[in-house]
């Protein structure tokens, strides 16, 4: 009998809740019982409340069990889990779990299914078809296809990806670069990490297509240092791609060159801002640059540079393979395609939900997420990371759409959703937004560098009920200065969480006086 394939995610979030301990214990037990198993360290399916989720290959397909602790394994063996036996932790076929079944996975089609470092499996699940197609096309045709798909930058700003590529294609230069922003610093986001750990060839394919489309021969992936596993995994995948002809001086025998290098950040949130990231890649302080010139014209080392979010690159292989029309059939309004939403924080079923734009926040939090983890009512939801606005529980009918969010002074950002229950103190959340800005400001613009520190102080005075009305006006004024006087999104958007907290949760800024009145 051949060895049974058992999947134990190597995803760092699964590991953080014990996946390595499970894998080691499983290996030990199988040896003791003289059962032949082959353990595959797959990516995560993104059903994080079920991690570590172990899957076995059976005659009825893959059967999942979770969340598995090392202590559960003896019982699982007894229950015959290697052939899909009944057990309290048995979840059935993962694709039948509603959380997964109700998604529209294009980008995450393979994540959690394949062995992340197997080129064969990547290909068997549709990988590298987009690249093969791109290699038969003219650069202008590739760029048109991406433009036509309606793909917008997934980092937060939502700028059309095809326009960026077109600018780089049309700018004449000796050298051009492709840069991937994998500095996924927003709290509540982990989609980039999941791709790098669970389906790294997808990023390699997307970036290679960008290179072929724009005439760039060199790419860099800038990965935050908080993601050491993703950094190592990408390095291994690049090495494998090089050895199998997908990267190098002659990509798949096309005569076209493209190669990649990974680079590690060093704990600076600001390096997720594209010009700051380029400075950091050049070996400098991550201080942001004035724009113009745009990076597409004068980017890395002064050369034309495509700099995109990881998820933008990861969207491209599907667009090339299935066509712009297929892709833009998903979505709503000017937000086309799918977005991996990341449901996090105080939520019962947290994880990755890839859906077409247009799904509502309520559907994500309640239908997929099952409400809060604590069982208490949802009170506040922050979408789009630390610079995103806080929304109230009665505002959750909003569709996930760039324009719908902009209309209420909020933003989708990188698609992260953080849920808070009714124990949250929104004055503290507003204070934290300013504090975070003070910690992470690059220091270039005075309103951001100094204003954030003053912001913390003013909020402290409001919380202590010192000249409350006057300080609230002062805070408003400070926020306006930061919005208007900062070059980049850090100083320019920090007021969003602050002002939304004041606007939608005014009672939290008025505690001492209310107490006195009681």
């Amino acid at each position: 009998m051949s060895a049974v394939r058992v999947y134990v995610p190597g995803d760092s979030s699964a590991v953080a809740v014990g996946a390595n301990r499970v894998a080691h214990a499983l290996e030990r037990l199988a040896r003791e019982k003289k059962v032949e198993i082959e353990i595959v360290r797959n990516g995560s399916r993104g059903l994080y409340w079920l991690e570590p989720m172990v899957e076995v290959t059976t005659s009825e397909g893959r059967i999942a069990y979770g969340p598995v602790a090392p202590g559960d394994l003896a019982g699982l063996f007894e229950a015959g889990f290697l052939s899909g036996g009944q057990h309290a932790l048995r979840l059935g076929r993962p694709e039948d779990i509603p959380f997964l079944k109700n998604q529209e996975r294009l980008m995450f089609a393979r994540c959690g299914i394949t062995d992340p470092l197997s080129v064969e499996e990547y290909r068997a699940h549709g990988g590298f078809r987009g690249l093969a197609k791109a290699l038969r096309m003219q650069p202008q045709e590739i760029v048109s296809e991406v433009t036509e798909s309606g793909l917008r930058g997934r980092g937060g700003a939502g700028f059309p990806t095809g326009i960026k590529w077109k600018t780089v294609l049309e700018t004449k230069a000796e050298r051009k670069y492709i840069v991937c922003n994998a500095d996924e610093g927003d709290s509540g986001t982990f989609a980039d990490r999941m791709i790098m750990e669970g389906d790294p060839f997808l990023l390699i394919e997307g970036m290679t297509i960008a290179g072929i489309a724009t005439g760039a021969t060199k790419g860099f992936i800038y990965i935050r240092s908080e993601y050491p596993d993703a950094f190592r995994q990408m390095g291994r995948a690049i090495e494998i791609a090089r050895n199998t002809g997908y990267l190098g001086p002659n990509v798949l025998g096309s005569g076209k060159a493209f190669d990649l290098e990974t680079r590690l950040g060093a704990g600076a949130y600001i390096c997720g801002e594209e010009t700051s990231l380029l400075e950091s890649l050049e070996g400098k302080r991550g201080v942001i640059r004035f724009k113009p010139p745009l990076p597409a014209i004068k980017g890395l080392f002064g050369q034309p540079t495509v700099i995109n979010n990881l998820l933008s690159f990861a969207s491209v292989p599907v667009i090339m393979d299935d066509g712009a029309n297929f892709y833009k059939n998903y979505g709503t309004g000017r937000s086309r395609g799918t977005q991996p939403f990341q449901l996090a924080g105080n939520v019962k079923q947290g994880g990755l939900i890839e859906k077409a734009f247009g799904v509502t926040l309520k559907e994500l939090i309640y239908d997929f997420g099952g409400g809060t983890l604590s069982g208490r009512p949802v009170r506040a939801v922050q979408v789009g990371g630390p610079l995103g606005a806080y929304l109230r529980a009665d505002q959750l009918d909003i569709p996930m759409d760039y324009e719908a969010f902009a209309a209420v002074k909020a933003m989708l950002g990188h698609g992260g959703i953080v849920v808070f229950d009714d124990t949250v103190d929104m004055a503290q959340q507003a204070r934290f937004a300013m504090e975070f800005c003070a910690v992470e400001s690059c220091g270039k613009c005075t309103p951001c560098r100094i204003g954030s520190t003053r912001g913390v102080e003013v909020i402290d005075r409001i919380i202590a009920d010192q000249d409350r009305a006057k300080n609230l006006r002062l805070l408003d004024d400070l926020c306006e200065t930061m919005v208007d006087g900062s070059l980049c999104a850090l100083g320019g958007l920090t007021p969003f969480p602050v002002q939304s907290a004041i606007r939608y949760f005014p009672e939290d800024f008025d505690k001492p006086s209310r107490k006195a009145a009681e």
Binding site: S13, A16, F190, S225, A266, A268, R285, A344, G350, C442
Partner: protein, 177 residues
């Protein structure tokens, strides 16, 4: 040019540190000087080897990369990761970001500060633990999270964190490979 060895991330260094060795440091610098934008990969490699970047490296780096000493100093001090003094024996970084706050990170923070008797950016007087703040480990659906000697750990409670810290002290923290 391969991607190998460009600093295997911040906390991989814990437990493998030793005294600063200027000659070895210069060798490390030589290894990576050919990379585009070599300063960051070199700094990571130095910190990986020694646990920190000694001020003695600054003139050497400036000389090697044709930069001013001020520029090198500026880069080392800009990034939160780079240390200029030797680390404690164990490093605990608590995630302070919003997703972890929503599931009890503030209470965990109070517990740790009480337990260690130090605030962020400080070491315990016996040099056993350093306490750092980190803003998101991408473990946001399994919070609250922390980084202990380079390993991300999640779904923490004060009791679970205490147990993991004891494991780390005993040298058998098994979160990663």
């Amino acid at each position: 040019m391969t991607t190998a060895g460009q600093g295997e991330a911040k906390a991989a260094s814990h437990g493998t540190t030793s005294l600063w060795d200027a000659a070895e440091a210069r060798q490390i610098m030589e290894t990576y000087r050919g990379l585009d934008g070599a300063l960051m990969p070199i700094l990571h490699a130095l910190q990986e080897r020694f646990g920190y970047v000694d001020d003695a490296a600054v003139p050497d780096l400036a000389d090697l990369l044709n930069l001013s000493r001020a520029e090198v100093h500026g880069v080392i001090t800009f990034y939160h990761d780079f240390r200029r003094t030797p680390p404690a024996r164990h490093a605990l970084h608590l995630c302070r970001a919003e997703a972890c706050q929503s599931v009890g990170a503030r209470a965990l923070e109070a517990h740790v500060k009480r337990k260690l008797g130090v605030d962020y950016h400080h070491q315990t007087p016996d040099g056993r633990w350093s306490l750092g703040a980190i803003y998101c480990l991408g473990n946001c659906a399994c919070g609250p999270s922390a980084l202990i000697d380079g390993e991300t750990v999640g779904r923490l409670t004060p009791e679970k964190l205490d147990a993991l810290m004891r494991e780390a002290e005993a040298g058998r923290l098994e979160a990663a490979e």
